[in-house]
């Protein structure tokens, strides 16, 4: 029994713990052993919190014995290293924060902890979540368990690799332009990005505040629903968190897809999409249709402008957010500064990696005198057009379906020379961030032995129907159960 515990999904673990088939402590020990065994090839962790995990598991077992089990009692998960964890290193994948021990917990860390979850560690990520391949991490790239020469995607690449390799059944992530959904697609896992404002950003290190949203990577839509129910909800410590009722997402999974209007965007299947990926996605659309969904063509005329819009808005916000790293109060500080200006410039120059510096400088440029109207204001206008396109589409359909990423996982090093090639990876996912919409990626096929994702996006606050659509699709297919060789 014990050697199979890692194969269980969160929902199965919850049932097993409840039935007393195994203890949270046994489960935690088994997973920690596996994390150590696969640490070297994958490089998916920045910190492993073994001691705290075992103590939390023991506490969970005691709580269960006394009838005080929380909704996630004893359930193991890992946090992306962008979430502040009290007393634990929180690096954000950067040299700037490689000595930062957070004095407080992020809102979702707190919520998951109170619900009884057991945190196994903190996962590797692109530096400050800026990247689509995990190659910008100060701690080195994460490797994809499906092929160690490939990237797991990014920026939540460590979280995705951990879940794909069955080192933990669930992981938190953040999604600013696709950073949960794209790595989920590239690793054969499920990635959920909620509506902007659905989940508190308190204690989540900010990259682009009008786009960032916390979510989860799991092995099933049901597991994502279970976690979203705990992490969603109002928090007055995040001024952008919205007070909106939290439905029972698990209960919302049941119900057929009969009559569900699914929008297909013609531009999603134009050039730029890998042919085999397109075929896999079209097959998944046929499955939805066979389940009673009605496929309708919709138009997103400004789709092509979403990536350039994003690369003005996100760097502008990043440039502003990352100005807090001044080498004074926390973070890397340069040696022997000549004066205050030198302290700032060298601390930041040494502490940030190349991609982060490029984004800060792009943002500084588009916000600087003489360029603001041409770039930033213009981008915010185009962003409104993109958002309006979605609004018009959602007047006709309940959900939009298409590919998550233009290709399966690419080789490490393949896209590092040209930033634009890397940026275009997120062409299908960025729109949901610009418009604040919920989206999910669910596995829908394998191309040359590498996973492909089906992307579902709904109107604001439609997590329930997006999750139901993914869950019902998973009842008809078993792509989400596919496991990379050597990790079963």
């Amino acid at each position: 029994m014990s050697q199979d515990l890692h194969a269980l999904t969160l929902t199965q673990i919850a049932a097993g713990l409840k039935a007393g088939d195994f203890s949270a402590h046994d489960l935690t020990e088994a997973l920690l052993g596996r994390i150590t065994a696969f640490a070297e090839p994958l490089n998916a962790f920045i910190t492993i919190t073994a001691e705290q995990a075992l103590a939390a598991a023991k506490q969970a077992d005691e709580a269960r014995a006394t009838g005080n089990a929380g909704p996630l009692n004893g359930l193991p998960l890992v946090h992306k290293d962008i979430f502040c964890t009290k007393g634990v290193l929180t690096t954000c994948g950067s040299h700037m924060l490689d000595n930062f021990v957070s004095p407080y917990d992020a809102a979702i860390v707190e919520r998951f902890g109170q619900a009884g979850a057991v945190v196994l560690g903190k996962t590797n990520m692109d530096e400050f979540a800026m990247g689509s391949s995990n190659e910008t991490s100060f701690f080195g790239p994460v490797r994809n368990p499906w092929n160690l020469d490939c990237s797991p995607g990014g920026s939540s690449g460590g979280s995705a690799a951990v879940v794909a390799a069955r080192l933990a059944p669930a992981a938190t992530g953040t999604d600013t332009g696709g950073s949960i959904r794209q790595p989920a697609a590239l690793t054969g896992t499920v990635g959920l990005k909620p509506t902007y404002g659905r989940v508190s950003r308190y204690g989540m290190i900010a990259f682009a505040s009008s786009l960032d949203q916390a979510g989860v990577i799991t092995r099933s839509a049901a597991d994502a629903a279970l976690l979203l129910g705990v992490m969603a909800g109002f928090d007055d410590r995040d001024s952008t968190c919205i007070d909106h009722p939290v439905p029972d997402y698990v209960a919302g999974l049941s119900g057929s897809l009969k009559g569900l209007r699914v929008g297909i965007v013609r531009q999603h299947f134009d050039e730029g999409l890998d042919e085999q990926t397109g075929i896999a996605v079209k097959e998944s659309l046929a499955v939805l249709e066979s389940q009673g969904a009605i496929l309708t063509e919709v138009d997103l005329p400004n789709l092509d402008l979403s990536v350039p819009t994003y690369y003005v808005v996100a760097p502008a916000e990043c440039s502003s957010n990352l100005s807090r790293f001044d080498g004074v109060r926390f973070g890397h500080r340069a040696n022997d500064p000549k004066n205050l200006f030198d302290l700032y410039c060298r601390s930041r120059g040494e502490g940030f990696g190349a991609e982060v510096k490029r984004r800060i400088m792009t943002g500084t440029y588009v916000l600087s005198a003489g360029y603001y109207d041409a770039y930033y204001l213009k981008a915010q206008q185009v962003r409104q057009l993109i958002s309006d396109d979605f609004k018009k589409a959602f007047a006709k359909v309940d959900v939009i379906a298409g590919p998550t990423s233009p290709t399966p996982a690419f080789k490490l090093g393949d896209k590092t020379d040209d930033p634009i090639t890397m940026y275009l990876n997120d062409i299908y996912t960025i729109g949901a961030n610009l418009a604040g919409l919920p989206g999910i990626s669910t596995p829908c096929g394998l191309v040359d032995g590498l996973p492909v994702g089906l992307h579902l996006v709904g109107p604001h606050w439609s997590e329930e129907s997006v999750l139901r659509c993914a869950h019902q699709y998973q009842q008809q297919t078993d792509w989400h159960e596919a496991c990379p060789e050597g990790y079963a």
Partner: protein, 95 residues
């Protein structure tokens, strides 16, 4: 190249970033490519479009101006490189 070395030097100064000599040329090249790429926005027809300030077009929530945090100076300063008597130390600012 849409940006020249002087412009990049100026942006780096505004952003308070010291670029090492060996990363400077690459930064000029890649930043230029990014600026060229986002320049396609200029072709978009946006006459009369109200710029979007919030993804759900909500307004910023306000709160009363009250002290809600307790004093945690010692805990917070544990992450600082240089403190003395509860103060952060920086190089001399006024000669």
């Amino acid at each position: 190249m849409s940006l020249d070395k002087d412009q990049v030097q100026h942006i780096a100064m505004l952003a308070r970033l010291k670029l090492a000599d060996d990363e400077f040329d690459e930064t000029v090249d890649k930043l230029s490519r990014i600026v060229d790429f986002v320049d396609q926005l200029s072709q978009a027809e946006t006459e009369g479009v109200v710029p979007m300030a919030h993804p759900l077009n909500e307004s910023q929530r306000l709160r009363a101006d009250e002290v809600t945090e307790s004093n945690q100076r010692e805990a917070l300063q544990e992450n600082a490189s240089s403190v003395e008597n509860g103060l952060y130390l920086v190089p001399k600012v006024i000669e």
